[in-house]
Amino acid sequence: MSAEERKVAIVACAGMDKALGSVARACAFKVVQDLKPKESVLVCIPPLIIGVNSHSEWINKYPVVTIDGCAERCATKIVAEKRGKIRGRVFIPNGVKKHGLKPETSAEIGPEGEELAEKIADETALLIDKILRK
């Protein structure tokens, strides 16, 4: 596989109703912009559903890591429906439990929310390394 092909597609729920959806989104940005810019692409759910070609191609071309903010697990559900290759799942509530950090609100996750997003992003980066090593 060439370097260009060795990527992971990140699909985050980015739910509006809950602060954890905003944490999922912040985590996805940190992974794709800061930690793994060459090894990941960010797939946004609505363009994926309405049929923006690049987003649909990415989830079929690259292994997918889903980041879900709540038990609805929209990112995982949608990628599975679109037959994307899910190779890793991140569940933000588990991160809340593990790190003891809680975000403030959906509009402004606050310092604890930012720290939570960073920690989960670091863990997701390790997950990406593991997936790409296989």
Binding site: A14, M16, D17, C44, I45, I49, E72, A75, A107
Partner: protein, 143 residues
């Protein structure tokens, strides 16, 4: 008999591709929590698209306003696909053209210019909510 709706659903795009998407999201939450808390309900677009019958039923029964970051109009298209056409769509990138001195550079770290844009967009959404409810109320009153 006209059924008077006293709530408007606001569907914002997830906005991960562009800074305009982040502005959409935050502006929508400000309308929900501060500007029009009694008049609005947000519809979570990923949940809506993932198949939530509650979100879709609400969007069918109540007027909705789509708030889109860019011309892809994911919120408008998605809402129309599963529930029906929103009564209005606000496209953030179009409104930003009217304020060329304000630039949106970052998707995740909002600076002063982005925050000002959020305020402007939030006010636009709030005005649209008033317009939508005003129209409905007038129709209800005239019956």
């Amino acid at each position: 008999m006209t059924i008077v709706k006293d709530k408007v659903g606001i569907v914002s795009c997830s906005g991960e591709d562009l800074p305009e998407g982040t502005i959409s999201r935050i502006a929508t939450r400000i309308v929900l929590e501060k500007l029009r808390p009694d008049d609005t309900v947000t519809i979570c677009l990923p949940l809506f698209l993932a198949g939530s019958q509650d979100e879709r039923a609400f969007a069918r029964a109540f007027p909705t306003i789509a708030v889109d970051g860019c011309s892809k109009k994911c919120a408008e298209v998605g809402t129309q696909k599963y529930s029906g056409r929103p009564v209005a769509t606000i496209v953030v990138s179009e409104i930003m053209k009217r304020h060329p001195h304000l630039k949106a550079k970052s998707r995740d770290n909002l600076g002063d210019e982005e925050k000002e844009l959020v305020s402007i967009i939030a006010e636009e959404i709030a005005k649209k909510v008033d317009e939508v409810l005003g129209i409905k109320k007038k129709s209800g009153a005239s019956n």
